[in-house]
Amino acid sequence: MTPWMERSSFIGRWSLRMGMALLAVVMLFPFVYVLAVSLSSPQDVSNSLIIFPSHASLAAFNWVLTQTNAVQGLEVSAFLVIVGTAINMLMTITMAYGLSRSDVPGSKIILWLVLLTLLIAPTIITKYLVVRQLHLIDTIWSLILPGAIAPFNLIVLRQFFLGIPRELIESAELDGAGEFRILWHIVLPLSKASLAVIALFYAVAQWNNFFDAVLFINSPQLEPIALVLREIVLQGNVSQNNLTASEFMPPSLAVQMAVVVIATIPILVVYPFLQKYFTKGVLTGSIKG
């Protein structure tokens, strides 16, 4: 604390803290409430306002996993996260490395073509027409290939690769290492933190994939969890088998919120890792709008 930084007044400090604490409640309460509703049983819902369900039960979760197509949605999304992110990383790493190499005739042109895409993104219509033309409509690949590289991540990673000392790479070249060996044994081990952040961002994006699925997917069995979530919560289709009248059915609100909880958990699980990296400043200046 430098001398000119006088402590703010007691009231000033505490009103700021209280204001922030209130804001934290505004941010977190909805999650608590959603969880409470998802755990509620019929007795609770008739009491209407639930903050702590008196008869907490997991019936709604059981229902979601057995009577709706949530499991199939989770499977599709898990596939997207695993295979999609792997493809994202493979494509982004190879191209970022290629663009980071010096003395490659023509690579400047490729770099400019990449930078230009930040300004001229395809429109909904042209994107759809291309995916259609490639016969990818209603295939899982329509959810993976059109977004295989996020130009922004590519540029960030290339920038990072450029920061690796040249001498390191050049001496390896003199020892007879080829491009793949340099990439695998020198560049990648030095970029672990950046790679982790980019992979996490890709994985989160894959999990949240909704827009592409709305555009390209028609078959119910290819719907990712986001689409299933919309059907159950926003369109109110709480039962796959039209068993709505069943007396064993948990309250439909509980069922709906249970899907929300299920779809949110994976993000909450990776969130601390994301947090760890971006507080370290790995992504400084690389925030997507």
């Binding site: 703010s8 204001g19 001496s171």
Partner: protein, 339 residues
């Protein structure tokens, strides 16, 4: 062989372990005779030397061609009576008819009005929210509490719109928390979600809830890069806390604010598609259709491909023009601008 490349993971130590005797700076020149330096080689020889790099560049380049540059050709459908069954080659050319249809369709203007209204609200309320929040976070004493607040505020950014809107439904909907609370206090249940008059404020509030925290990252980064001696000098000159904020902090983050505003202006016809798409059911076009959802419904749902492509093309052109104009203006006022 593998061992030779097992360099230590810390970059700084590299010089001490390289197996080559020459100092790093001389390695390149000493191993390649001067007349065969990269710059003098013929392009073909250089390309041959880097052939594996091209192989690495190939998949990515094909990707950008297929999904960014090939779609550009799709814009010709704006000048055609396009039908996917006839494709670009056999669809009849109709000149500017699609554009005439766009301008004479009353819905176009409703949709543009809705889009501009929502974006105006975003710029007036959501945009400054991030700045204010960043200033507050910066003023917050205590590292732990600050960390906690940041973690809390960034979280919704990582959740998809389907989750966000489902949660809002549960808080503000007819069967939601607020409604039950009001009913519990003796009032009538309220549904704040399906009220057309509240559509736009809800859209903006959702964006604020989801993104304000995340948008502080850039402002906070700018604030921490302000030279501390500026604050000191201001304090010596007798500036109080508020004056320092006004005369040091805000000018310090002015260029990032202007940069983001330029980008914002270029996107004035864009509103998060997913959000509106999810909120739209139950509302009329008059209230809840924006340019992007309009393109989607006309093109992909109703099959008016040429019409939709024309709207999308106009939107892209106006966006580019706005970025250009606002960048010019920023430069005129002595700012750095975008390019």
């Amino acid at each position: 062989m593998t061992e030779r490349f097992a360099f230590p993971s810390t970059v700084g130590e590299e010089r001490h372990v390289t197996t080559i005797d020459a100092p790093p700076g001389q390695m390149r020149t000493s191993s390649i005779p001067p007349d065969r330096r990269p710059a003098r080689r013929s392009v073909l020889r250089r390309m041959r030397r880097r052939r594996w790099v091209y192989l690495l560049l190939l998949p990515g380049s094909l990707y950008f061609l297929a999904f960014y540059y090939l779609p550009l050709l799709g814009n010709v459908s704006a000048f055609q009576d396009y039908s996917p069954y006839l494709s670009f080659f056999r669809s009849p050319w109709i000149g500017l008819d699609n554009f005439v249809a766009v301008f004479s369709d009353p819905n176009t203007w409703i949709v543009v009005r809705n889009t501009l209204e929502i974006n105006l609200l975003q710029i007036v309320f959501a945009f400054p929210a991030g700045i204010i929040l960043a200033l507050l976070l910066n003023a917050l004493p205590g590292q732990h509490f600050k960390r906690f607040m940041q973690s809390t505020l960034y979280l919704p950014h990582f959740l998809g719109w389907v989750i966000i809107i489902s949660i809002w439904q549960q808080i503000f909907g007819g069967d939601g928390f607020i409604s039950h609370l009001v009913a519990g206090l003796g009032g009538k249940p309220v549904d704040l979600i399906s009220n057309p008059a509240l559509f736009q404020p809800m859209v903006v509030l959702q964006v604020m809830w989801k993104e304000s925290g995340w948008s502080t990252i850039m402002f906070l980064a700018a604030i921490t890069s302000i030279d501390l001696s500026l604050y000191e000098a201001a304090a010596i000159d007798g500036a109080g806390k508020w004056q320092r904020m006004w005369h040091v902090t805000l000018p310090g983050i002015r260029s990032i604010i202007i940069l983001l505003l330029i980008l914002r202006l270029g996107n004035v016809l864009t509103i998060g598609f997913e959000q509106i798409f999810l909120l739209r059911p139950g509302f009329t076009t008059d209230v809840a259709e924006v340019v992007d959802t309009f393109v989607y419904s006309r093109g992909i749902l109703s099959g008016q491909w040429g019409f939709a492509a024309a709207v999308a093309l106009l939107k892209a052109a106006i966006g580019a023009l706005l970025i250009f104009v606002s960048n010019r203006m920023a430069k005129k006022f002595g700012e750095e601008g975008l390019y």
